[in-house]
Symmetry: D2
Amino acid sequence: MSEQTGHRWVVEWHSPESGMLSVVEQILYSGRTKYQEVDVMRNRDYGKMLVLDGKLQSSTSDEFIYHEMLVHPALITQGRPRDVLIIGGGEGATLREVLRYNSVGRAVMVDIDGEVVEICEKYLPEMHRGSFHDPRASVIIDDGRKFLMNAKDQFDAVLVDATDPIEGGPSRLLYTVEFYELVRSRLRDGGVVATQGTSTFYNAKTFALIMNTMGRVFPHVRGYQASIPSYISDWGFVVGSLGEDPAGISPEEAGRRARELGIAGLKYYEPARHPYYFWLPPYARAMVEEEKGVSRDEEPVSVY
Amino acid sequence: MSEQTGHRWVVEWHSPESGMLSVVEQILYSGRTKYQEVDVMRNRDYGKMLVLDGKLQSSTSDEFIYHEMLVHPALITQGRPRDVLIIGGGEGATLREVLRYNSVGRAVMVDIDGEVVEICEKYLPEMHRGSFHDPRASVIIDDGRKFLMNAKDQFDAVLVDATDPIEGGPSRLLYTVEFYELVRSRLRDGGVVATQGTSTFYNAKTFALIMNTMGRVFPHVRGYQASIPSYISDWGFVVGSLGEDPAGISPEEAGRRARELGIAGLKYYEPARHPYYFWLPPYARAMVEEEKGVSRDEEPVSVY
Amino acid sequence: MSEQTGHRWVVEWHSPESGMLSVVEQILYSGRTKYQEVDVMRNRDYGKMLVLDGKLQSSTSDEFIYHEMLVHPALITQGRPRDVLIIGGGEGATLREVLRYNSVGRAVMVDIDGEVVEICEKYLPEMHRGSFHDPRASVIIDDGRKFLMNAKDQFDAVLVDATDPIEGGPSRLLYTVEFYELVRSRLRDGGVVATQGTSTFYNAKTFALIMNTMGRVFPHVRGYQASIPSYISDWGFVVGSLGEDPAGISPEEAGRRARELGIAGLKYYEPARHPYYFWLPPYARAMVEEEKGVSRDEEPVSVY
Amino acid sequence: MSEQTGHRWVVEWHSPESGMLSVVEQILYSGRTKYQEVDVMRNRDYGKMLVLDGKLQSSTSDEFIYHEMLVHPALITQGRPRDVLIIGGGEGATLREVLRYNSVGRAVMVDIDGEVVEICEKYLPEMHRGSFHDPRASVIIDDGRKFLMNAKDQFDAVLVDATDPIEGGPSRLLYTVEFYELVRSRLRDGGVVATQGTSTFYNAKTFALIMNTMGRVFPHVRGYQASIPSYISDWGFVVGSLGEDPAGISPEEAGRRARELGIAGLKYYEPARHPYYFWLPPYARAMVEEEKGVSRDEEPVSVY
């Protein structure tokens, strides 16, 4: 506004009726890949940000909340992950969290947009922290669903770190019954799946629908929320398990597993809190209980 | 934008570098009192909103989170409140939550701005739900701090439901050591104080400072957060207790108290979760531990 | 942004891809009539503003440009107006300009929205300056086109001071061949019509189309522009004449007429400049020449 | 807003109380030079845009208005320019207009920011159209005022195509009495100076002050305006002449000179309109007459 408050102002729309105005201090990269528009920007509130098609994906100030909460509730539930598949995850930060586990022998990340992966590797070292070059990691540029279809391998966990389901978008078929059936077919006994679940405020219905949809395929399904400042609303996650109920693991047991697996020093996820994460407030539980819909390939859920 | 998305767009600034753009469907009231600009608006995301000096105070969509979390952690900790003082609280919703307690014989609300109270009574019945006319309630138009100074009465709980401390604003001296000393002097044994604690994202330092400041006066002080969608960030609260440690009350004990006091059917606060609310994530704990400052009358804390 | 720069910020959209953010100092009125949303606001750049359906209609800082330029090029061209019809013109400022002519015996203003007229009379006295109560003025609440259809009277000038043609809007049929034919049928010999012509930047095509359309009905048609700061783009007007070519009147002759008719002390229109107003810059002339379309009732022109 | 309307939205502030929100289709370049932030962007309304420190400088959709109106009123007034000096003008478009004159033997452009010139050469060929490589052109990277001080050469015209005078900005001393005296000392008999004069709406006082200031040094000074859509307000220019009064040249004489000098096919400036450009509307004349201030080195004028 005044000279001091910076020159480059941008808007991120959350819905056709609301958006966030903010200063950008620096545009590190701006371009278009085969799949999407990509911007890497920096501002004072959030640090460096990865923006795809105008939507903030991660910021260095709080990506730890998102990535820890996508990965650890699932992997601690599984208990001893060896082979982990990540669908999406271009920033390399989900991969980074997975590689913390001393039990992990192989982490495969399948992202559809190789250009985004390269841009992240170059401009966002604070996020991947070299994870792309860990000998246990392999990065495959492919459609995640197609990869799963053709995969011969079995996994202990599948982590879906994809963009929101948007009409015409690349991630739309990563939230359907058919997709979760495919995931289940590639999981070992006791395997888990976790997915980001969209904004539980702007897209509460979508979050509930994803829980419902996964519930058709996995015996134990739990939704949970974390407040991620740069997303300016609570964010939802959903975990499905073929083995234990994620909410049935006691703080003590979660702590024991974390120690054994070498998980320490996280900034958001705490084993001592493990089962409480799955405790949605009453109004959110009510909302989830009301939702009866299921997302199917022929009519997949999508956010605005 | 298009005809369908509405005509009246407004911006709420969170800092000199960021703000929220959104459609307003209706402006129910717009004016200026002796103390501040007041707007009552409605939009699709949040319902009816009370806006003071351009800052959203409450919205009908989620005020229950804010008001339940300001009132119940404190009153359940106190255990059997009879006389409760509310400082601020123009909407009447804090009063409404206090009046749920069958133990409460008298609830005194002291708000500096009588015009705001009248506007809320007229335009926001969804919030006060008649609480202003409860025989146990009295509404006094006065400066909260001055009222406390002159008060001869003793209270079991003091709830500070005021605007953020802003340079030159009416609430600036409601967050200082001197203020909390005054509060303590009016509390009965086992009494509690609770205050809103500003945004834990945009004003994390202020939240930490308020915890620190209250800690100079009260033996037990606990900070906690709740994600309030319309505030677009986690919101902080701080409770201080002369009696029990708020985090030391077990889920079972909190449940027992709630039943006895007639507290049921809340939409956010759950007795079964009581002690867990005070569990800040590691990164927030670190931030609080770093803060050594204390807010004093001579140099009070203020948000941007 | 900072406390000093004001609390109420609004956005006016000019297209689905651009809009103006600005501070509002005061909302004097906000409501919805049978036809539209009405806001009367004040800001520092523009003074008091009338806003209909989110679009600025007039501001006290520069309405003189719009209203002088709608009225005087046409009436000076006609030369001695006695009976003048205004369609729209809720603010009363077009009426005010018409009543400057000592030759005018009757000025009829027909506005579809009586509530808007009342709001303007109450909140915008700087605009109408009492014109509604001039004994020569009559205000009729009716659809302008319907009024013309039923009118038995003849006029020397018809001034169309209506909102932009918008799909579904009340003014859409005030810019078609059929409408101009109706106008012509109610004009005396030598009569003139003038209309606002939308933004020549954002809706250049619409401006050209209106010129074209009026050209099917009137022997002399001239488009002209004036830069109106609060409209943040050049604004177009179109005048049609059954008598003289508006651009054929010399500065001297325009000056002579103005003196005789009592027109002096205007802030924008100058008789000495009369013919030059109709001189579009080459790029605008080219744009007008390219346009071959005509707006008809069955498929009327509309801006975005 | 919706997917179709584009993802990258930016804001350009015009004052601390207003700004323009718009979609950016593409960011071609974004960086910081020694002197300023530079962005080259494209949007649907304006085409490619050069933005310095968050302020739009030129857009391919309407730069012809700005550059034609900066150059031709002055050079047609001078009548036969041989040596022309441009101060600023990084886009190369002022140079382009100057090189249209068959009388011009040497056009020297002095811009302080060589990086901006390089960026324009690379990203904005539509603007310079090769003018940087014309054998008559020389581009010097230097402070314009310093260059003038050391210059031994005489010029027929000096064109100041610089950013607005801003506190602390590089152009602040290009609008003072001392600067115009320096310019005059380097002009041949009959020489002219022309400068952009800031927004006549947002900075009307600055425009008037520049006219006043130049009037202390040049015998003939004329201000004029052109409406430049992307600047969203009328823009001011000021021309000073040691020879003829710019407003005293008849349309016929201007036409004769243009033909002789090879000036034809412009999109905005027309010789036939030459003297009328200097005709400010009454309200603007009044504003200019009221201004008594003069900008001096010791206390130079600056826009907000």
